[in-house]
């Protein structure tokens, strides 16, 4: 259920990345994308990740979100070492623990907003009533209570991204990862989405990892990490938006 988590006295890191390497093989060639990254993300932090194209931002995000496993090193999320999990363990883990927001929304076009948000819940042992309540709450939080039965094609980009965010939070995961969630939106919609993420972080106490190229978006975060050629070059605290 979506409910505020008890606030710990001290902010424990919810994500810990320790000396992580990731390389891809293309034929005989080895492409080193991440080269010994170490970082910690405290609970309820709104973290921005920036860096030039091809620097490995998406790769890092995928590792933290359990879509891929590191070649070397360890990744811990909320006291679970996900870097050692099998593919099916990761799938199970993702459903409950990570919410994804994509640049291109990736909603299923044949399903309504309501059904799209309901999808991840189908994997959990919930009754129809419990599902209905959670879907409604999530869509309310993103301000789309009046668009339950619209198909993605009948919604604006900003609205589709809200549905995407509702789908990400509906299972009440500890962390939200967003890969350029505003990259495909006009300035106003982008502002609204960023406002929404900020609100959710406050009200639901989520930890949010945001990859962006947009300095204005980065300014909304608590802290920005810069990635270049697979290493963290500097980290600084950005201006707090609120």
């Amino acid at each position: 259920m979506i409910s505020p988590m008890p606030t710990p006295a001290k902010r424990e890191p919810v994500v810990r990345v320790h000396d992580v390497h990731k390389y891809f093989r293309r034929g005989s060639e080895r492409l080193d994308v991440l080269k010994g990254l170490t970082l910690e993300v405290p609970d309820r932090e709104f973290l921005g990740l920036m860096g030039p194209s091809g620097s490995g931002k998406t790769t890092l995000l995928n590792l933290i979100a359990g879509l891929d496993t590191p070649s070397e090193g360890e990744i811990w999320v909320a006291d679970q070492m996900i870097s050692g999990m099998s593919e099916s363990q990761l799938a199970r883990w993702r459903t409950r623990n990570v919410g994804f927001v994509f640049q291109f929304y990736h909603l299923l076009p044949v399903m309504t907003a309501y059904e799209n948000v309901e999808l991840p819940l189908l994997l959990l042992p919930l009754s129809a009533r419990q599902r209905r309540e959670q879907v409604k709450t999530a869509l309310e939080l993103v301000g789309l209570s009046d668009r339950l039965h619209h198909r993605p094609g009948q919604l604006s980009g900003g609205q589709q991204q809200r549905v995407g965010i509702a789908r990400a939070i509906v299972t009440d995961p500890a962390i939200l990862v967003a890969d350029e969630p505003t990259g495909d939106l006009d300035a106003r919609s982008a502002e609204e989405i960023l406002d929404l993420l900020g609100e959710l972080r406050e009200s639901l106490e989520k930890t949010i990892l945001l990859v962006t190229h947009d300095p204005r978006a980065a300014r909304r975060t608590d802290r920005v990490l810069h990635l270049d050629k697979g290493v963290l070059v500097e980290s600084g605290v950005a201006d707090r938006a609120e």
Partner: protein
């Protein structure tokens, strides 16, 4: 579960493609249904003829066949000598007789050909009389009893009643013609064959005939009638199966009792078998080439459609994976879609073919040899469903497998 809704929605998404795939399935299942119906029909026909088959014993070297009546008893036993020998299940003697009601003016109407036999063999040995409607069967049983009890009785065909302008209970006299010259028989009509196949047949007691042949000699100073020693034309034997037939034929043809004249033993099914032999390659081709080719084509069509739709939906399937859907769930989703479409189209096609052929066309007219019309067996609905399901499963398995193996990280990375 909710996945079912997703499957339905996906089918509806590209309606044209779904309809075309479905039509392809319908047409091919139609062809497979027809082919298999014909094969099943031929198989049933040959099997029926090899079970409870009828053997015919005739004179070996001469047509028409004329055997001494003394052969009858031994032939009825299948010439069995030792206890291990096979005996026929039943037998029937055929003694032909031809005569006219009006020796002055012989015409088609006045001529009657009849067989002399044991009356009680009529219902069991004559084709088609063992499976009459209950009322006709009961009537025939009564007529046969009456014939057995009436020495000079005769059961005639419907044509005779008309031609002779007689009714059951009436009497008439036949004057023997050609080889039967000199044997004149007086009959009382005790019954009539059920309408149909035996409208032209008349059957009377063998005892009466044999007696009249003897009486001829008495009337002619001991000179026997030329047919006296050759009044048996053929003997029918009923046998359990081809194996029994082969054994009995061997027993009869090797028996020293039938030296002069020699006899031969044949079966009606051997005629069918040799006829089917000519078609064997065709049937083989239909069964092992045409039908599998249809199923293979069907699989390819479905594989094509499914792999296109999977390619289009790679991202969607990857998103499902990101949300935590397991590979088998993705597999179910993709396979479910095509198997649902394939099996339902197959079923629909078979049901439509069944209805069209069996009800609307009243059978598929296909007059080769003794077969008149083919019908679609009701099993076809099961085949149709299974062929559709199997072909779609075969066609969609590889695309579905590759879909569920999709690595999400690759899909979302720039390189993919």
């Amino acid at each position: 579960m909710k996945l079912g809704i997703l499957i339905f929605r996906n089918l509806r998404r590209n309606l044209l493609r779904s309809i075309l795939t479905s039509l392809g399935t319908v047409v091919l299942v139609f062809v497979v249904t027809l082919v298999w119906s014909i094969l099943a029909f031929l198989q049933a026909a040959t099997e029926e003829k090899t079970r409870n088959l009828k053997a015919i014993v005739t004179e070996r070297w001469s047509i028409p066949s004329r055997l001494p009546f003394s052969y009858a008893a031994t032939l009825a036993e299948g010439a069995a000598r030792s206890p291990q020998d096979v005996r026929p299940l039943d037998s029937m003697n055929w003694q032909f007789y031809g005569g006219t009601v009006d020796p002055e003016k012989i015409s088609r109407e006045s001529l009657i050909y009849a067989i002399a036999s044991d009356p009680r063999k009529i219902p069991t040995m004559l084709d088609g009389l063992e499976s009459l409607p209950p009322d006709q069967e009961e009537q025939l049983r009564k007529d046969v009893e009456k014939l057995a009890a009436t020495r000079q009785g005769v059961i005639v065909g419907r044509n005779h009643l008309t031609a002779l302008n007689k009714r059951i209970g009436d009497r008439f006299k036949l004057f023997g013609i050609s080889t039967y010259m000199g044997i004149d028989l007086e009959f009382e009509i005790v019954g009539a064959f059920p309408p149909g196949r035996y409208d032209g047949l008349a059957a009377f007691n063998s005892d009466y005939y044999l007696n009249e042949l003897d009486a001829y000699a008495r009337r002619n100073n001991g000179r026997k009638h030329p047919l006296a020693e050759h009044s048996l034309n053929l003997v029918w034997l009923k046998l359990a199966d081809t194996d029994a037939f082969n054994r009995v034929a061997e027993q009869i043809e090797s028996s020293p009792s039938f030296n002069s004249p020699a006899v031969k033993c044949e079966t009606a099914a051997s005629g069918i078998a040799s006829f089917l032999d000519a078609f064997r390659d065709l049937i083989w081709g239909m069964r092992w080439l045409l039908a599998p080719a249809c199923v293979a084509t069907l699989s390819l069509i479905i594989a094509n459609a499914i792999s296109i739709s999977i390619r289009e939906r790679r991202l969607e399937l990857a998103v499902l994976k990101v949300l935590g859907f397991r590979p088998w769930q993705i597999l179910t989703l993709v396979l479910g879609e095509s198997v649902l479409l394939g099996s339902l189209s197959g079923l629909a096609s078979a049901v439509a073919t069944y209805a069209a052929v069996n009800w609307w066309m009243q059978g598929l007219k296909f007059p080769i040899a003794f077969f008149d019309a083919f019908f679609i067996p009701s099993d076809a609905m099961v085949w149709g469903f299974c062929v559709g399901a199997a072909a779609s499963l075969a066609g969609s398995f590889l695309p579905a497998w590759s879909a569920c193996r999709v690595k999400v990280a690759d899909v979302f990375s720039k390189v993919a």
